[in-house]
């Protein structure tokens, strides 16, 4: 379908960019109310523009929209226009980004109101919305890459927002650098596709993919002569997937995301849970004509397995964390694994559907945890929480709904999206389904534990507060030292987004009911509309497939709900009275202790990277800088040649006064003499 021109698309990134620029340049002098107005205006404007674009898109019978803004890089053989595009997939992501983004802006007004860096915070947040919308709207790989790195910058700035704490600043740096490693792969992937197809434009690439005749016929011309198109595309997919691993925190590049929790909690909700980290999934689905089991099966296997393993691996770490945000962070890594599992199996719309529902319930969970941390003046250790159910009812109920959604309890949003993934996995690959199924149990377990420790049992924050707080807390709120702490209850700014996101987490499943719900006579005599979202995305990812037998699907759903409820309850039951003394005793010795230590220390992956990569490279760098340069090169070339000259040139030593001025004089005089003589 030829895209319609709709130039107003540029408003979506432009409005938050204006907000960010205004706040950066004059924010320091603006009163707080005006800062709020500019920041919320920027993000709400982007949301409104996204809704308008979606409406236009819908009215045009889902014809893709495009806005060709200017010729960006155009040299030699290649032209990369600055083109924005809008189709069903874009609309799904951009509505989440700007919608959830706006809600989190609202929440932040309450959360950050006492922070001295108020305007700076909103400048970064608006900049993030700008970069993320470029990522979502960019119609070619290079333009997408602008957003891709732009969100990395926003993430860097926001993780290190409280930069006076070196650990937080270092976490930001780590995020940027690990993402850069991913971007290296992304760049190589771009080069490969551009080298093969002569363009980075998604529209043209799709056309080219459709025109591929024989994937296994060896190419005879071009830079890839001697390889088959399948091999080249597989290489490109794997390279791009390295980028996705960086941005979306998959094994082996996930290590930055847990550290990223150093940022303010609303940032964790927006960037490190709901939107930015899903960019990798979005990219894979965007390029589904290459990332396809029929085109690049090897790459797809890799993606599905990396996703599945990440899902279970991260969930296992989440079990043993005591920092509430860390648990949620590993949960995010794990859920992103599910999305890649789906994408790797070719269930693109299931991946995107899980992206959307996850954005709702995970944002709600993070904002809820932020409200808890805020209430406790910066406490993040769950062992010093407990009993918050009564004083913070709004937080508790929204948190509970989102927890159930995340654990996959029917009929909440997460149930439907996770079930769609597991159903596909069951159909295609039982080992992968097994990973997903076990991961779902772990998810329910750590969330039950989190719920029990935080909201149930007795209040433990009064007694121990201010004592050995191991983890960095949100610095702006400081540490209270009083025995009785005054709970800082969330204001209206904070409660509204919680309620809205909680509601979305509850009902978003309706967007995409499984086909087995297509029952006559349920909703007032009509059949329920099923798979609406699958159909909506079909223009991008192809028609939805019905694979499983209805009976098996019902069975799978039933089993997974029971499975989730069981582990959820188990977690809750063990931890509802606080850290379990029985478990503590059990993990004090023997293999259980080792298991606990390994999980608590995150399988020692950071340490392994430190000793295997960082330290050797830095040692090599020191060797270059402190030995090769001064001794080998200078010693050999400079001093050596000087020595040679000296020994051979003794006879001319009267010339060698060592006085540069006299050299210069001789030189100038000589040149002048030559010129004079010549003229």
């Amino acid at each position: 379908m030829r895209p319609e021109s709709y130039s107003l698309l540029y408003l979506i990134p432009l409005l938050p960019l204006i907000g960010a620029a205004t706040l950066t340049l004059v924010g320091a002098r603006l009163p707080k109310a005006l800062v709020v107005l500019v920041a919320l205006g920027g993000s709400l404007g982007a949301f409104a523009a996204s809704i308008a674009s979606t409406w236009v898109f819908y009215r045009l019978q889902e014809t893709p929209l495009e806005a060709v803004l200017w010729e960006w890089i155009a040299v030699g053989r290649y032209t990369f226009d600055f083109t924005l595009g809008f189709d069903a997939l874009t609309s799904a992501l951009i509505l989440v980004v700007t919608g959830v983004g706006f809600l989190i802006h609202v929440y932040s007004v309450g959360y950050m109101k006492e922070d001295p860096g108020f305007f700076r915070y909103f400048a970064y947040l608006n900049f993030f919305i700008f970069a993320m919308s470029i990522l979502a709207l960019g119609r070619s790989l290079p333009v997408m890459f602008i957003g891709w790195e732009g969100v990395g910058l926003a993430s860097y700035l926001l993780i290190g927002f409280w930069y006076s704490d070196p650990e937080k600043a270092l976490a930001g740096k780590k995020a940027f650098i690990v993402n850069r490693i991913g971007d290296f792969g992304f760049l190589i992937g771009i080069f490969t596709l551009v080298g093969l197809f002569g363009t980075g434009d998604f529209q043209l690439l799709k056309e080219a993919a459709a025109g591929l005749r024989d994937l296994d016929e060896v190419l005879k011309i071009g830079i890839f002569a001697g390889y088959t198109p399948r091999a080249v595309i597989t290489f490109a997919c794997l390279s791009l997937f390295v980028g996705a691993c960086g941005k979306s925190a998959q094994i082996p590049l996930y290590v930055w995301l847990p550290d990223a929790m150093a940022g303010p909690t609303p940032v964790s909700a927006l960037i490190h849970a709901a939107t930015m980290v899903t960019a990798g999934v979005y990219m894979v689905v965007r390029l589904n004509f290459f990332f396809s089991p029929s085109v690049a099966p090897i790459a797809m296997h890799v993606i599905a397995w990396v996703g599945g393993l990440t899902a279970i691996f991260a969930a296992s770490i989440g079990l043993a964390q005591n920092d509430i945000k860390k648990v949620l962070a590993y949960s995010t890594v794990s859920q992103l694994g599910y999305m890649f599992l789906a994408a790797g199996l070719g269930a693109y719309s299931a991946a995107v559907f899980h992206l959307v529902t996850h954005a709702f319930f995970k944002a709600c969970l993070f904002l809820g945890s932020g409200a808890v941390i805020h209430a406790l003046h910066g406490e993040q250790d769950m062992r010093r929480m407990g009993g918050l159910r009564r004083p913070l009812p709004v937080v508790f109920w929204t948190f509970l709904i989102s927890t159930l959604a995340l654990a996959g309890v029917a009929p909440l949003a997460g149930f439907f999206s996770k079930d769609a993934i597991l159903a596909r996995a069951f159909d295609v690959s039982r080992p992968l389904w097994m990973l997903g199924f076990l991961g779902a149990g772990l998810t329910a377990l750590y969330m039950g534990r989190l719920l029990g420790l935080t909201f149930f049992g007795s209040a433990r924050y009064n007694a121990a507060h201010g004592a050995d707080v191991g983890h960095g807390a949100d610095a702006a709120h400081g540490h209270g030292t009083a025995k009785e702490i005054h709970l800082h209850k969330p204001d209206l700014w904070m409660r509204t987004p919680l309620i809205l996101l909680g509601a979305l987490a509850a009902v978003a499943g309706l967007l995409n009911l499984p086909h087995v719900f297509h029952l006559e006579g349920v909703a007032g005599g009509h059949a329920l509309e099923t798979q609406w979202f699958d159909h909506y995305l079909s223009s991008v990812v192809g028609a939805p497939q019905v694979l499983l037998d209805a009976g098996i699907e019902w069975l799978l759903m039933g089993v997974s709900v029971v499975w989730a409820v069981f582990w959820l309850f188990a977690g809750y039951a063990i931890y509802r009275r606080g850290p379990s003394a029985t478990l503590e005793r059990a993990t004090r010795s023997g293999p259980a202790r080792w298991a606990h230590v390994v999980l608590r220390e995150k399988w020692f992956v950071d340490e392994v990277y430190e000793y295997v990569i960082v330290i050797p490279v830095r040692t090599m760098a020191s060797f270059f800088a402190l030995f090769i340069d001064p001794f080998v090169i200078d010693g050999l070339f400079v001093k050596g040649s000087a020595l040679g000259v000296r020994s051979s040139g003794r006879g001319l030593s009267w010339l060698q006064t060592g006085n540069i001025q006299s050299y210069a004089t001789v030189f100038v005089v000589a040149v002048a003499a030559i010129i004079l003589w010549a003229v």
């Binding site: 950066t24 200017w70 010729e71 960006w72 890089i73 155009a74 040299v75 030699g76 053989r77 290649y78 032209t79 226009d81 290079p142 602008i146 891709w148 790195e149 732009g150 930069y163 006076s164 704490d165 070196p166 600043a169 740096k173 940027f176 650098i177 850069r180 971007d183 290296f184 760049l187 190589i188 771009i190 080069f191 551009v194 080298g195 197809f197 002569g198 363009t199 434009d201 690439l205 056309e207 080219a208 025109g211 591929l212 190419l219 005879k220 011309i221 071009g222 830079i223 198109p229 830095r618 760098a621 020191s622 800088a625 340069d629 001064p630 090169i633 070339f637 400079v638 540069i660 040149v671």
Partner: protein
């Protein structure tokens, strides 16, 4: 001689005239000295903006040519001219000099008169070297540049300034002498006469046994200037000891002369030897990229860190040349500009700190962002520009070099691009390390407690650079539209003139979709670049095509006969440019007088 070509000469010599003017000033009138020097250099920037305005974009070949007799006996001519490549480098120079002078307003307190004179003289030297089309003239400017730079380091430098200055002088002098010998060889004609014109040198073909020596004599001189591993060690020392102004000009402009020398002289004069040397140049560039980046990471001194980062960035430039594709070479030229902007700015920022705290050791800082938020903003911004964040100045060049290298048909270039791309990771590593050490963490050092944020003058110095960083990143076409035609002709001619090298024939991609040529922007509507088929094996004639000049040798077919090597442009209805208006016949001394050029009515008289 038209007004336009006088403009170029005016741009080159205005600073020198200004330097003489400043000699009349009393030495203690600091304010007027600085203001006059700044005003003159700003005026020169405005003049050079006139060059930009009247420069015909999308046209290869030289414009604003001036070709006057100078030293007839030796075939030395005063011959200036610019193409898209030198135009941009001239603008970079005239842009950076006033910024440097403004940046050094309070940093230089001793010998202000000498300082301003040195900077202005240096500007003429650099500009002259960028626009000379005569080997002797080029050599004069090239050497003339050395002297003020030597004094800049030696007089206004730091503790070990004499050591650094001498090291700088000896390294570059060693290269220059080699080059001088080669120039003399090239200029001596077989008939015993002399001809220093670049055109004459390009028209000659050298014996296969001699050509590599000549190439390397030039190449070593330029490689030292770039600097390419392993002749790079003078640069960190020079930077560390140089005053801020010296560092900005050194990194911003002087290093570019090395790359420029390769583009203008070493490669075109000795194409066969150049092609033979490409694998070695590729390897050295890759080493420079990775080695420079790693060495930057562990420097305790921030100036040294930025200096090593220059080595890494300039490695990208050289890699682009070695890739020999239009994209990569255009990217190289782009990096030269982008590096001038971002690294110039980084040196200025280091200077801002140094003026306040008189130390450049990273460990003495930390937590500065708290006290100096404006400084923090500029530092992070420029670091991002330098690290190649897309839509800032560092990205288009790196992207083009890497893409052009990856898709180059030369062997092993795909692997080379992958190795070079690790430089992108490492750039983030060392630059963010620096940012972290300077800006973040607690403000522990008591001496930093009262550090002042940037003042209005310093903001005025850095703001133009920041704006330029955005403009270059968002609209790189401003640059590439002017550079690309020259680069395209350059690449094609090199392929044609080198022995045993097939014509430049890049492909669009083996599986490019059919609609590619009609659905994307106007540029791609033209047909894929066709090889320029040499009609006959006649180097002279192909050169005529390169420079589109009247035919001095009387080759059949006449001047301007060969069409411009951009097939498809005319065919597809794009605006045909009347190039005849822009060229003039060039006199090659010693050759018969050119026949009147029928197709160049504007050609006018020959000087």
């Amino acid at each position: 001689m038209t007004g336009a070509s006088q403009l170029l000469a005016a741009v080159v010599f205005l600073p020198l005239v200004g330097a003489f003017l400043l000699m009349l000033f009393p030495a203690d009138d600091h304010r007027n000295l600085k203001a006059t020097a700044f005003g003159l250099s700003a005026l020169n920037f405005v003049l050079s903006a006139g060059l930009w305005m009247s420069f015909e974009p999308r046209v290869p070949g030289y414009q604003f040519e001036t070709n006057l007799a100078w030293i007839e006996q030796f075939g030395i001519r005063f011959h200036l001219g610019i193409d898209g490549i030198s135009l941009l480098l001239v603008l970079l120079t005239t842009f950076l000099v006033p910024i440097t002078l403004l940046g050094a307003w309070t940093a230089i307190e001793a010998r202000v008169k000498e300082f301003t004179i040195a900077i202005l003289a240096l500007e003429t030297g650099m500009l002259g070297a960028f626009v000379s089309l005569d080997l002797f003239l080029f050599y004069v400017f090239w050497e003339a540049m050395l002297v003020p730079m030597y004094f800049l380091i030696g007089i206004w430098g730091g503790q070990r300034r004499i050591y650094a200055a001498i090291k700088f002088f000896i390294f570059t002098m060693a290269g220059s002498l080699l080059m001088l010998v080669a120039i003399l060889y090239v200029a001596s004609q077989p008939d015993g006469g002399w001809d220093f014109s670049l055109y004459a040198a390009l028209a000659r073909s050298f014996e296969p046994t001699v050509e590599p020596y000549l190439f390397w004599a030039f190449a070593v001189a330029f490689a030292i200037k770039v600097p390419l591993f392993p002749v790079h060690t003078w640069l960190p020392d020079a930077h560390v000891e140089a005053p801020t102004a010296g560092s900005v000009i050194l990194a911003g402009v002087l290093l570019k002369l090395g790359v420029y020398g390769f583009i203008r002289f070493a490669f075109p004069m000795f194409p066969t030897a150049a092609f033979a040397a490409l694998p070695l140049i590729t390897v050295l560039s890759l080493i420079s990229i990775v080695y420079g980046a790693l060495a930057a990471w562990v420097q305790p001194d921030m100036k040294k860190l930025v200096a090593y980062s220059s080595i890494s960035h300039l490695g990208f430039c050289m890699l682009g040349l070695a890739a020999m594709s239009v994209e990569a070479v255009t990217g190289s030229v782009f990096i030269m500009l982008a590096h001038g902007v971002s690294t110039g700015a980084l040196f200025l920022l280091v200077g801002v700190l140094y003026e306040r705290r008189h130390t450049r050791v990273l460990a003495d800082y930390g937590g500065i962002a708290k006290r100096a938020p404006i400084f923090a903003f500029f530092l992070v911004f420029m670091v991002m520009a330098s690290a190649g964040l897309p839509a800032l100045s560092g990205f288009p060049g790196e992207f083009l070099v890497l893409l052009g290298t990856f898709t180059s048909k030369r062997p092993m270039m795909m692997a080379a691009a992958c190795i070079a791309a690790t430089g992108v990771i490492l750039a983030a590593v060392y630059l963010l390390w620096m940012v972290h050490r300077i800006l973040f963490g607690p403000l522990q050092n008591p001496e930093n407690q009262h550090i002042k944020d940037m003042n209005l003058r310093e903001i005025a110095v850095l703001a133009p650079l920041a704006v330029l960083a955005i403009v270059l990143g968002v609209a790189p076409g401003l640059v590439t539209d002017r550079v690309e035609p020259a680069v395209e002709a350059w690449v094609q001619q090199l392929h044609e003139r080198a022995d045993g090298i097939p014509a430049y024939q890049p492909d669009h991609g083996a599986l490019a979709p059919v609609s590619l040529t009609r659905s994307v922007g106007p540029r791609l509507r033209r047909a894929p670049v066709q090889p320029v088929r040499p009609a006959q094996n006649d180097a002279q004639r192909r050169l005529d095509r390169l420079f589109r000049r009247g035919d001095a040798q009387g080759v059949p077919g006449g001047p301007g006969q060969a069409p411009v090597a951009r097939p498809g442009v005319e065919a597809q209805g794009a605006r045909p440019v009347d190039r005849s208006a822009l060229r003039r016949p060039i006199l090659i001394p010693g050759a018969p007088a050119p026949a009147p050029a029928p197709r160049s009515p504007a050609g006018g008289e020959v000087n």
